[in-house]
Symmetry: D2
Subunit: 341 residues, 4 copies
């Protein structure tokens, strides 16, 4: 942490800042520049992060140098964390597909989805039993009934399950049926929820918030990591920008960036990332090439009659075609990783 | 709701769409334009909002015409809703100030804040006992102890209380001490929480989400309104944009816009809206002039030693000066409202 | 400028950075923190702004401390610059209104606009003769014919003229007819144009770019200021964000912020800032209260038949009513400024 | 185009709108819905785009159905336009790389860049002679001297040239030396410049604006296309969002989206798209996989000593490695295109 004084700051102003820093038990380094005096803080600065040095007379700005997350950082854990989802490995260099409908609509529908998902090579079945909807009048999910159906469908086709948990009160219930607990974009900064799911020991699929920065996302993961039980799987699902031609702006740069900053795996969600079914396949391909550890994608046996997100769901034919393309690119990426050593 | 066909869409393609609409129990109107056939849906379209007409061959796009919120809309309730906070009226044409610290730090601090708040003319005391913090290592609030302090301080100075509730499990506790329950920006779309606070009967201060659209905000209010117990007070607190010179971009247009679309009152938060203490006063003034029903503002007896948000908190002197300016503008606005009749 | 080394950076890595700095003729200060070594640069760092220290091994990040603009800054010129538009003062504490149509449509229309503008108390007539339009098929302006009309109309009603110049080739022509040269939002970073208008000696109305940061805007003004001829009038006209309920997000915080950072005056454009005629008046009021030096607003004798921007133009009745309200608030602000001393 | 009346709009209000439409020479279709009357416009609506129907009493909103661009659209020209850059084909299914420095710094430097570019398989040499810089004090380019150097370097290594033209006055000069004229992001809506370069007959590399929507970008291309001389090459270079961890947010969805909406080719710029050299290679790979027709990338023999953009430039080693990876993915994409047939 660094405090930068305004040009012309007085000796007294500098001293007041220095005293405050020393009061917090830290040492200082004073750098007399041509225009600015720069005061460096030495010691564990986490305790003084909230000190409003900006309000001291003569201070121009304060700059944070260290990150506030630790356990999530690559520095703390230089190797990749491989998440083991009851035998399915995420983060080990392979590309894992999670596929399924937006909403679980009934046993038959989710069984059909599981069959299609499996045929394409997916290892994990997705499907929502609790749905966060903009309008209170929209379908809100089948709740526990849906959880039972997705578990049954997954088991029948030897798949694992990922599904969203929206509030603390349902964690235990969702954890009973699901292998991965998903935190939705709207809840990325629902800290009580993060702390609670972090205690389950189940892997947590942490979606990036609708307007979440990379830094906030890493800090949200830290809320889980400090519980020291559950590993995190980052899920890039697009961010909100001024562009309305797509539902979100799919930020694929997040893939190499998160891999640089954190040891946890990252997968991509080209369905929400674009919101338009015929953009899903090219963006799934781009996700593979960007180096993602997998993807989560919406499929439906009959998108025209899906209860939600039909416009971004792939039907069987398009899903299978996408998976064929993904396989070709996965093979190419394997070749590339071998070169990189 | 309107479905627009592509130029050259075939008769068969149009028929498939029409059949689907009719299957949902709605009638259609077909408008043969020069380039596009436009299919209008007649009847209650809320049930077909999720039908992915875009995935039908020959469809170019789907446009929603009706809003999904009802009880929150000005159409439903043409007059202004005046919220009665245990005797303090919000939305009756007056300008109500809520002031206090970001975090409750102790009894002495909140008593001092209450004294200052009162001296400036505030009617409601703010202060956080549960704090949503980006980092798990930052101060998270005094919890119930803090609630007790703020209640005591408010009572001593004949003020009402507003404080944030972050999760369902604490609603009962917070409602015991607070007159208004505040939903923070990160929780604007935490639907379970909205439904639960809506059942308390207490007025709900609903902050706009960090990247919440006006439409999503109105729909979030609808989650509360459908419980038919608690009135809503909208709180504009700035939105996330590319601009980093301020903490958020303070969207004052939301004030007249919400007043046009909804009957519930709206207040502004110039502290979070700017994030910089010396921009708070001009933006508070602008809030009055934009027609807001009040404001919520951060003050601290000693911002330099505040535990959080010190950089955007006003000290006593600046707060009293701001309130003097706000009073002058409130008087001017009264004159303007008389002209408007 | 500060270069921050990664934790664990080697002595050799630090030395390479230091050598590079010294090669550029600057001195260094090395601050050995607990986690990070921080290297401060001493001397005129403008010449090394583009040195990519980030690419040196062991470097974590580089932070710029000084601004790149000088002549535009409040530090360079502590008092307010009052711009004299042929006798009309902008920045002297008064609130100056510029009103007129989006496009000049003919002599009769602009005469009618001038008459209305004058009646409401505007001192300057606006109107576009060159129009930047998204589509090449939209009306592009009457060009020189329009310039003649607006000059004639302004002269008849003793008003000054502001109009946009879109390219270097027309500067001389526009300067012949107009008292202020306006640079539109799309051209805020058209540097050749900025340099050229800066040589005319006419005041330049510099609109903020559609996605211009405060810092870029100040630097754009610097392109004009370095020509040492023309003063700048900043025009806040709203920025592009994710919100679509308004045409732009009107960033009124820019008013006190620009006044803090620069000595040039700033006015607001509530017409483009909102894009909706019935939001213009409340936002004009808010602009006064935020401390703006004036505003530019679109009016039209018959908005329904305006050739462009009809949806955000005020008719005579609404404009006169707005000006009445603006006058009341201007008086209130005068009172406030007297208190502030 | 569709005009939607408010619930409860009167017969007279509808008639006024209808009369206005008919006055413009168009027919109407009136659709009496359950809540809203919807008025459809029939005929060529381009002339009425600017009619502010929203200002008519009883009107709720106006929706545009048709695009305003024509010649740029895929509907107008269903096949792909293959741009021929003096023998190098862009848009024919191959992946063309343009590489070179941000700024041309001298003959030796650009010769060295050309050698490296060629070695990696690039066919086109990039390099700026006119540089748009945020600050007037930053290096602005070698101008004509630079143009001579890049032409000489390209010729020596049998490469084509792409370079930016920033203003009308230099078009002729730049066109003398360059095979492609690049329009920079800041000039995407500099309409006079677009019209002028469109008359040269040279291919135009049209960068997306810093906050340009897909729709505005297509309309900007239309300004070139209506001159009926120069083909367009779209260049996705990232957009401005709230995220600051990367220089821009690289919107790769633009690739399949532009290909769906337009017949002109699109290439990607992972250097500006990310702004960080070690994210360039993964994003270049993602660009190939997204289906781009090529890329433009910044390289430098010695990024640490580059005069500009050093932090996002690849050195020889990293560039050659990236090209190896790009080649592997290009081969994979060829396989995929064969499957797609």
């Amino acid at each position: 942490m660094i405090v930068i004084m305004k040009p012309g700051a007085t000796k007294e102003q500098v001293e007041l800042v220095v005293k405050r820093i020393q009061k917090e038990g830290l040492d200082v380094n004073i750098d007399q520049g041509t225009e600015h005096i720069v005061i460096g803080l030495k010691g564990d600065v986490r305790g003084v992060q909230d000190v409003p040095f900006n309000t001291y007379d003569g201070v121009e700005k304060t700059l944070k140098i260290s990150n506030t997350y630790k356990l999530t950082s690559r520095e703390f854990h230089p190797g990749n964390t491989v998440v083991d989802v009851d035998g399915v490995k995420i983060g080990d260099g392979s590309f894992v597909t999670m596929a399924g409908p937006c909403s679980i609509e009934g046993l038959e529908q989710i069984l059909e989805c599981a069959k299609i998902a499996k045929a394409g090579g997916a290892k994990i079945l997705r499907g929502g039993a609790f749905k966060p909807r903009t309008s209170p009048y929209a379908f809100q999910g089948l709740e526990e009934e849906g959880l039972k159906y997705i578990r049954q469908a997954a088991d029948e086709f030897d798949l694992k399950v990922i599904t969203e948990v929206m509030d603390e009160g349902h964690i235990e219930m969702v954890a009973e049926y699901s292998d991965i607990l998903q935190i939705g974009a709207r809840n990325m900064q629902n800290y009580k929820l993060l702390q609670s799911v972090g205690k389950t020991g189940k892997p947590i699929g942490l979606k990036r918030g609708i307007a979440g920065t990379i830094d906030e996302w890493l800090n949200a993961a830290e809320y889980i990591a400090v519980q020291d039980k559950s590993p995190v799987i980052f899920i890039e699902r697009g961010i909100r920008t001024y562009e309305t031609a797509t539902r979100n702006t799919f930020d694929l740069s997040a893939v190499p960036l998160i891999k640089k900053l954190s040891h946890f795996p990252i997968i991509v969600d080209p369905s929400h990332g674009t919101g338009v079914w015929d953009l899903v396949t090219p963006m799934a391909r781009a996700g593979v090439a960007a180096g993602a550890d997998g993807m989560i994608v919406e499929i439906h046996p009959d998108p025209k009659n899906a209860w939600s997100d039909g416009q971004q769901s792939l039907n069987e034919e398009n899903y299978l075609k996408m998976m064929q393309e993904v396989d070709i690119l996965t093979a190419a990426m394997k070749q590339i990783k071998e070169i990189e050593g």
